[in-house]
Point group: C2
Chain length 131, copies 2
């Protein structure tokens, strides 16, 4: 195995390990303490940041790692629990606006502490630099 290739694989493995460690802890703690999936939290996190209340699905998907179908279902779940609201987009009726509800904002506020704590604790492994 060439040295350069080896470094690449090393970086990938460390990325895998780091990601899984953090994601696993996040998923478990967020679920346990706040009844949220990691994807649900990340979605809320984006919606809480956005101060317009007319975020569109595709824009949301664009700035996240979630696929279109995953986002659709995640928002569906959040809506079912009253944490976000969907509304029709008037300018383009194929589109859907999503916005966070007061209840969603409250839930997010609480969960954020957990989220940040997990990051602080587990996002510490040194990722090998790109080159």
């Amino acid at each position: 195995m060439e040295p350069e290739e080896h470094g690449l694989v090393e970086r990938w493995r460390s990325l895998l390990t780091c990601y899984n460690t953090v994601a696993c802890h996040l998923d478990r703690l967020l679920q346990e303490k706040h009844g949220l999936t990691m994807s649900e939290f990340e979605t809320l996190d984006r919606l809480a940041e956005c101060h317009r209340d007319n975020q569109r699905m595709q824009d949301l998907a664009g700035e996240m790692y979630l696929s279109q179908s995953a986002l659709s279902r995640t928002v569906g779940r959040l809506e079912k629990h009253g944490l976000v609201a969907r509304s029709l987009c008037s300018s383009d009726r194929r589109g859907v606006y999503v916005c966070i509800t007061p209840e969603g904002r409250a839930r997010h506020e609480k969960a954020r502490a957990t989220h940040r704590a997990v990051l602080a604790e587990h996002l510490v492994e040194d990722l090998l630099p790109t080159r």
Copy 2:
């Protein structure tokens, strides 16, 4: 949001994006060209490196990101396709030895090129350093 906390979140998001980009491409290409899951490939990759033929499940799980149950099923799938073989561990009859078969080695050899190419192409985003 405190600046330090912000950096943490930024790093996490970039990790998420990077991981998902690479994982998504890997999964798709490995499946399409070699009929392998990412987890299956990573498992083969470890087994191909190990030059003893008596790798134990728990050791394998230890050096990977896979959970115990995920590994059990991944190895199950690999075995079903004849790419690895399980055998009983004589010293501790609770344990199971896993080793790669010649067929598995051949498959891994081919798939490795795809794997390395995807890494080279997509594992290039600069991950923000730890501190």
